[in-house]
């Protein structure tokens, strides 16, 4: 059983998304093999963005997740459909899951953190 991080926030609204990624990277650094799940508005974090004035590009950090040991990246198909976003537009792409799979993944996690 591995920790599960669920990201639900838009990338640049506040520091929550960024602090979620920092927590996820810390978890990976402790060799916990975390899974990260993008749902609701969180899927917008996976769309490559232009650099924002005064802040680091969050999507570029996400594109480096695999290097930092976050190998399991999953994306809710319902959320993608809701925002009219295609999997091919995402970076990193991650694995598509359905709503029922989403429930079972949460159920089987060692612990869950939501950002």
């Amino acid at each position: 059983m591995s920790p599960l991080f669920i990201f639900t926030e838009t990338p640049n609204n506040n520091t929550q998304a960024r602090e979620g990624v920092e927590a996820l990277l810390a978890c990976a650094a402790f060799d916990q093999k975390p899974t990260v799940m993008f749902i609701d508005q969180g899927i917008l974090q996976l769309i490559p963005q232009a650099d924002q004035i005064g802040s680091k590009n969050l999507n570029k950090m996400l594109q480096a997740l695999e290097i930092y040991g976050v190998e399991s990246i999953i994306v809710c198909a319902n959320s993608l459909a809701r925002f009219g976003v295609k999997l091919a537009e995402l970076k990193p792409q991650g694995k598509l899951i359905t709503l029922s799979e989403r429930a079972s993944i949460i159920q089987h996690a060692a612990w869950v953190a939501c950002f």
Binding site: T15, E19, A110, A113
Partner: protein, 138 residues
């Protein structure tokens, strides 16, 4: 209570507070933590992250009649000798420093409430791995 006598119902909790002092998560988290202790459970650690780090800021002063949740958290944590860690990265980016961190910035101040310590995210990860249950608020 039966759960206390039986012993094996007792569980350990890792609690993370991400809510700012005036947000409901700060209050709900405290009520939850108090209920844990009241029912004989244990709290491995309370980790303050995101805007929750403001709960460890001792210079916050509220107008009369308003509740200072940071103070209430401090009373609870000190009374029950619960390990309280404020995320150093989240705190410093918001201007909250303890004496040691202030010295690094050539300042002679200490803004952290007594009973709280500044440390890294590893403390949160470790508590989550140790505890039976992980809870977060905010």
């Amino acid at each position: 209570m039966a759960s206390q006598e039986a012993g094996f119902f007792m569980a350990s909790f890792s609690i993370c507070i991400k809510a700012a002092p005036q947000a409901s998560g700060a209050a709900h988290g405290l009520e939850f933590a108090k209920a844990c202790i009241a029912q004989g459970h244990s709290i491995v650690r309370v980790f303050f992250y995101g805007d929750g780090v403001y709960l460890g800021l001792k210079t916050q002063a509220l107008p009369q009649g308003e509740i200072c949740w940071g103070k209430l958290w401090q009373n609870f944590l000190v009374d029950h000798k619960i390990d309280a860690v404020v995320c150093i990265a989240a705190a410093v980016r918001r201007g909250i420093v303890d004496a040691a961190e202030a010295r690094r910035q050539n300042l002679d101040i200490d803004l952290l409430r007594e009973g709280f310590v500044l440390s890294g995210l590893g403390q949160w990860i470790a508590a989550n791995s140790t505890a039976d249950h992980t809870m977060s608020f905010g």
